[in-house]
Amino acid sequence: MADFLNTRVGAALKDAVLAAVVTLLLTSIMVGIKTKTEQGGLGIEGNWSLVAWMVLAVLVGRFAMSLLVWRGRNPVANAMQSILPKQETVGKIGKFVGPALLVFALTLPFYGNRYVIDMGILVLTYIMLGWGLNIVVGLAGLLDLGYVAFYAVGAYSYALFAQYFDLSFWVCLPLAGILASFWGMILGFPVLRLRGDYLAIVTLAFGEIIRVVLLNWYEFTGGPDGISRIPRPSFFGLEFERKGGFADFFGIPYDSMHRVIFLFYLILALALLTNFVTMRMRKLPIGRAWEALREDEIACRSLGINTTNTKLTAFALGAMFGGFAGAFFATRQGFISPESFTFMESAIILAIVVLGGLGSQLGVVVASIVMIGGFEVFRDLQDLRMLVFGLLMVVIMIWKPRGIISSRAPSVFLKEKKAVSGDFVAEGEG
């Protein structure tokens, strides 16, 4: 028996049986048992034939694969390596992907339908949030698990200013950014001395505090009821109304799509502004100081860099873009409640930054499209979508443990701009 297990066929069989058992354990809970409404309560419905098919498929498939395709140690990673593109090719493709995506985004409203444009708005919002968080996590190396707090501050700033003072979106947008960056600094002060896990816990708590305050301060924020009828943005004073608005002014027939397209371009402009400022900042002394802070804080101080100010500017700037995105979110939805600003949102934004590659602007875009877009594409799979989604993340992490784009572009060069391999770049201690 032991001899048989040591042969190739035996080992493959053993491996296949193990995989089948794991599949059985997983699928029997997730696929095999379903709840359904019965008279007098919930009932359970079995779906065991599907489970049997899945287990069989894994058993046969795994056996065949390990016998015919996978050889050597760590077969999955090796197989992935050969299927997926190499780092150098990714770098070469990367040069064209950015401009191509920009052209795609600019022209999307001309051929996309309502659903596609709405999706575009959603993805762009997350791209903007990812870029904002990238300043804090990717460049300065400060792990922030409560980024959604600034998104909430931005959204509630606009909603409350509009409700109490009747201010327009364009006045509130900068105000939302300023208030969010102010809160960024308020978070920044207590966490200046914290690093690593401690920093993560405090930022996580901060995000929850903001949400709980919004939830419980009923007289001011409306608590769980949220704030509704938030004014929609106007096109330089022209409302998107049936009469006397944007359409009338330009003499074109009214179409409800105008507002959606306008919102799309608005978030695109905001996201590009975020990108522009971040790219610019990276080449300025402050941006270099952020990255130096991520690499080695003590060395920074020995060179006369005021690490307090450097950290606070990173927090404030990252929070400001979160605030802009929040104000946009409020005006797009027309209704906000604390439900939209749970920890899950922070986790998704952080996942986008980490999967994309810390500090990489293009990586955030790709990860947002994959994560937010992918989530939508697999909507038909219902419950299985989480499974597919998890699988996708595992695949990315096996293929690229440091994110899709892990190399770092230097901020200044003498003769030749060489990308710094991700292996050298520190992830930051905080």
């Binding site: 300025l284 020995s302 770049v425």
Partner: protein, 289 residues
Amino acid sequence: MSSWKENPILTVEHLTMRFGGLVAVDDLSFEVGRSDITALIGPNGAGKTTVFNCVTGFYKPTEGRITMNRSNGQSYLLERIPDFQIAHHAKVARTFQNIRLFGGMTVLENLMIAQHNKLMKDSLFSIGGIFGISSFRKSEKASVKKATEWLERIDLIDRADDPAADLPYGDQRRLEIARAMCTNPELLCLDEPAAGLNPRETQDLNGLLRSIRELDKTAVLLIEHDMSMVMEISDHVVVLDYGVKISDGDAAFVQNDPHVIAAYLGVDDDEVDEAEAEAKVANAEGVKS
């Protein structure tokens, strides 16, 4: 004789540093001459790095006063100001025993970060920089030029665009010195600059340190275990043992000081033999009983 006492750049008076019950440095006083290479030596655990950390602000001393007298006449009490201001205003730069470069950044970027404060001011604290004002661009160019000059001096110009972590050990040591020098210091503190270098690299380092003293008019304070190097380049040597200064003078004086020979370079071989013999007897007795 004792030229460092006349116009010292750094005066350390009654410096004491306690960590809980442990006294790492005990009532230490010494001077660093303005145009000297001063070495701080002593056996392992003598408190040399603690003195460095006090001078550069990474520790706040329990007692004592550290005065930096800049060449423009200004004086700074280093025990009272935060570490980053010591580098920025008091013009004291340092390197670390375990090299602390920004490994994921290029060699050139490392030298640019050292010029952070000047660039920050010229970019109008980033606001002018975002709009690309010309004075900032000029300043950036000047900083690159300065970095280039230093890269030529330490012979790393060909590797300017490589990540710092990719350099061999000796190059990393030199880069760290160049980075510290890019902050325009008046006093450069080096924590074991020759550790891990081969003899030829140590010779190059000696040349570099001499040029820093002569060309850049920067005083050098260094901790070192390589005695041949210390004796070759130092104008002034301070010897520590268990946090106490046991000798202070020029290289020749220190070499012949009986305290140093006893405490640092070790006692005579005869005495060691005697001690070992005693230990053997004690052991043997222990076995018997």
